[in-house]
Structures are given as C-alpha cells and as structure tokens.
Amino acid sequence: MNDHPPMAISRRRFLILGAVTATAFAMPPFISLKAYAASLEQPAMAKVTIEVNGKPQALEVDTRTTLLDALREHLQLTGSKKGCDHGQCGACTVIVDGRRINSCLTLAVMQDGAKVTTIEGLGMPDHLHPMQAAFIKHDGYQCGYCTPGQICSAVAVLQEIRDGIPSHASASLTEAPQLIASELQERMSGNICRCGAYSNIIEAISEVAEVPA
C-alpha cells in the first residue's frame, strides 16, 4: 500500500481547498501513512477568523493551535489560563457561542466563525462584570490563577439554570432546576481551585444569582 505516489497536491493548496467536497471521490484511491508523513515534515498552517469579545480576528495558525493558545499567544488575551491543558482543571474556560467550554480542548481552526467571550470580554478593572465584582467582594480566590475560568464558568452556569438545563444535582428532571447552592456546586465541579476558595466562590455566585442565604 506504500506504492502510491505522494499526494499530488501541496499541503497549502490542500488546506486552501478547505471544505472536503465531492472532489474527494476523485482523489487517489489510498494515501499511505508514509507518503502522508512526508508531506507533514513542516507544520500545516490554516487561516481562521474568530470573533473574540465582539471583534473579528483573522489569524493564520499552525493547525495544532488550540483556541486557548490562539487567545493567549496570538491575541495576547492572557486572562484565560493554561492549567492542565487537558480539560481537567477548567482554568481555560471561555464562552463560545453562548456555551462555556475548555478552550484547551478545541482547535482554533475548529472555531472558524465562532463568537468567543473571554474574561477580558466580560469586564475590565474600570467596568467590572457583576460576577467579577462579587468574586472580589467575597474573596473568591487566593492566588487567582483559576479565577478567570471560574468567573467565565459561573456566568455561563447561571444562564444554563435560566435555560432550564438540568444537572446531576437536580432532584427532578421534569421541573426547572433550582437556584440553590447544591446546583451551583455541582455545575462548577469542572473548575478546580487548589487554594480551596470554593465556599467563597459559591457565595459570590449566589449573590449574583440572588440565591437566598
């Protein structure tokens, strides 16, 4: 199976083709791993446009670039943090098309056309988002490294509850989820705080959500 010639198409040209269309059927019958590896001795580059905090950003990135690295290294939006880089800690949480995700586990090229909100887009020191102000008021952090992810997650959590999305902590699947501490704790479990500011984080979110004490 290694007898086939390498793909008669440059890597760049291949990427420019973008979408795989019906032309895919006209491609050579099989491309071996060896031939393909030879075509990948250099990084593959791709163009992508992502709307970040309301502003379209056109980037040319190595296909390996995660959304997190695009934000931090290409756009210098260093509020989003790289903790584990494997989706386990939540420090990289951003809001994409209205949903919170781990930006370390998606590629920038996969987010072409997406609308991304980072901690910088939620608020800045001179105009804080209510959730940012509440974290400060309630001391919802110590070292602060996980905080941008905690806050992006918290803002999205309140929207998820408003949208009626159930959680593991919801007593009933058929009734609207309640705005109570146990719901917030469960929904925030993807954001790890090694300083252990969890109780203050829940207090901060509860205040913004107007959860009765």
Binding site: L15, A44, T63, G87, M110, S153, I165
Partner: protein, 318 residues
C-alpha cells in the same frame, strides 16, 4: 503534538470517503478526548476531518415512536432534551453524571461512544499497553488496578470503557447508525458495537475504516422507573468505580446495565430475569466469570450493593 492537516467535510459521504482514503485519518467532533490524546502522542492522526458542520446535530422522532439522535448532538443538549428527560430519564441521568459542564457542552453523542479508556497505563506512553501499542504487553495487569475491569477483560488488557452515556444506551437497546465510505449504511446494536479485548484490545468497536457514525436511535419508550447511580471517589467530575443503570417495571421485571467494571457496557439479560430475587442473585449472575485483581476485588461487592441501592431507590420512586 504531531503536525496534521485539517479539513472540514461538507457532507457525511465526503467525510467517510476521505477518511477511508487517508491512512491514519480521524474524524474530529467535540475533540475533548482526541485532542487530549494527541497532546500525549497517543493518537497521532495525519489528517483531521472536522464533522461538526454536517447537520448531524438534531434529535428527531422516529416512525416507531422512538428517537433518532444525531451523532453530533452535544451531551448537554441530549441530557436537556424534554423528550429524553421525560421518556428516557436514564439517559439524561447518565449523561449528567459524566464529565463537567464544559466538557458536556463540547462532547458529542458519537464521540462519547468512541472515547478511549482512561486506564493510567494506556495514558502513560512509558508503560507497556497492548491497546496503545499492540504486542507490547499490559502493565496494568500486576500494576495498580483499583479502577480497572473485573469482567470481559483478557490476559492482554483489563481496561474499562469510561462512558456513563453508553450504560444508558445499552439498557435502552440503542442502535448505532453508520455510513461507510462506499455510501452504504448500516445499524449496529449497541450490544455489538463495543468489542471485548481478547487478544486485540486495540480493536475497540465494530466500525470499519472510514465508517462514520451518523446517529444513535432509541426504540419507543419502555416506561418504568429509571435510576442511574454512579459510585466514585469524589461526588462530581470523576470516573465511575461502579455505576448502575436500572429500568424497573411495576411487575418487578427490569433491565440493568453496569459501568466501571468492563471494556463495554455490561448487561446480562439472564441476570435481569433474577431481579425479583434481589441484588445478590442478579449480581452473582451478572458477574459470573469475573476475574478481579486484589486491587479491584472490592468492585464485586460494590456492584451487588449498588444494585441493592438502585432497586431500593426505584421502589421508593415508583
């Protein structure tokens, strides 16, 4: 991470055709497991084919009263769907017991079924692993195996399948719909979808190269009381030590599938026939032939006790 080419497919057929043409090509959907493994050089695809924009993200009623769940429906959307919450509560509960809110927003129905084991020896490229590197041996056997499998395992591999969703799909008799590179389609019963390791633990599903999952279908609702109970080391965001999905009918009959103990969702229909006799009888039949290690011997007892717990809960709720 190794360099790779990236393309967006514009139809399921084009995606399947391209995947079959390029050795080592992978579909990418949520990416939550694949990118994780690529960062560790455990998965090294030369080509990623993005299937996120193919319109496979809808949940539709089927003619026989069931549901057809598009392969790209996100775990959050599936768990929150009003029909699923009402008629397939086990599926909602299992989904919500898995991963984190962020991950469920990304992870897809098909990707959840295709996720790889979280066996620490599979993840550590310095260790022997027949699943990652066929023929290299299994460092988990004789290693730290507390989390690992007790049944359906082999001398080559004792990894478990990590999915919660798949446990519910197995109890609900789901079917996996696929599209092959030649344009043909087929339906695979969930029972036949995941493969036991035997001597080839690197072969995990019955999919052929390039075969694309397009949907997972559920038969018409079976009623009953649905309970999913996941026992884990922390109360959220952890993989199961043991999980049990139960559908109990008023007449005492029911279905039961177990996670955290085997390379695939573990369901033994002959054990379900023993439900009226209680957890001990069901558990003994379900785990007949189990080969636990000294580290995970506790799972044998834990399965029985978790079954007793879900039976009690289901009777309370009925």
């Amino acid at each position: 991470m190794r360099a790779f080419n990236y393309s967006r497919a514009d139809s399921p057929a084009a995606a399947a055709a391209q995947a079959a043409q390029i050795e080592g090509a992978r579909f990418i959907a949520g990416g939550t497991n694949l990118l994780d493994l690529m960062k560790l050089d455990i998965e090294t695809p030369q080509q990623l084919i993005d299937v996120n924009h193919l319109g496979l993200d809808r949940i539709e009623a089927t003619d026989d009263g069931g549901l057809r769940i598009g392969a790209l429906v996100r775990n959050t959307d599936l768990a929150a769907d009003s029909r699923v919450r009402k008629d397939y509560a086990l599926l909602s509960r299992a989904l919500l017991a898995g991963a984190s809110g962020q991950l469920r927003n990304m992870a897809t129905t098909a990707g959840n079924l295709l996720q790889r084991t979280r066996c620490p020896y599979f993840y550590d490229t310095n260790q022997a692993c027949n699943k990652r590197n066929p023929g290299s041996g299994c460092a988990a056997i004789g290693g730290v195996s507390r989390q690992l499998g007790i049944i359906g395992v082999s001398d080559a591999c004792i990894a478990t399948h990590p999915s919660d969703m798949a446990i519910a799909m197995r109890a609900l008799d789901a079917q996996v719909e696929t599209l092959k590179a030649d344009g043909s389609t087929r339906r695979i019963a969930i029972a036949d979808f995941h493969q036991l390791p035997g001597t080839t633990p690197n072969v995990e599903t019955s999919l052929t190269p390039g075969e694309l999952i397009t949907a997972v279908t559920l038969p018409a609702p079976v009623g009953g009381t649905h309970v999913y109970h996941k026992v884990r080391d922390r109360s959220s965001y952890a993989f199961a030590l043991v999980s049990v999905g139960l559908i109990l009918q008023k007449d005492g009959s029911g279905r039961i599938a177990v996670g955290g103990i085997a390379p695939k969702p573990w369901r033994v229909e002959a054990a379900e026939a023993l439900l009226p006799q209680g957890a001990k009888a069901v558990s003994a039949r379900l785990l007949d032939g189990a080969t636990p290690t000294s580290d995970n011997q506790f799972k044998v007892t834990l399965v029985e006790r978790t079954i007793a717990s879900v039976l009690a809960q289901a009777r309370d709720e009925a």
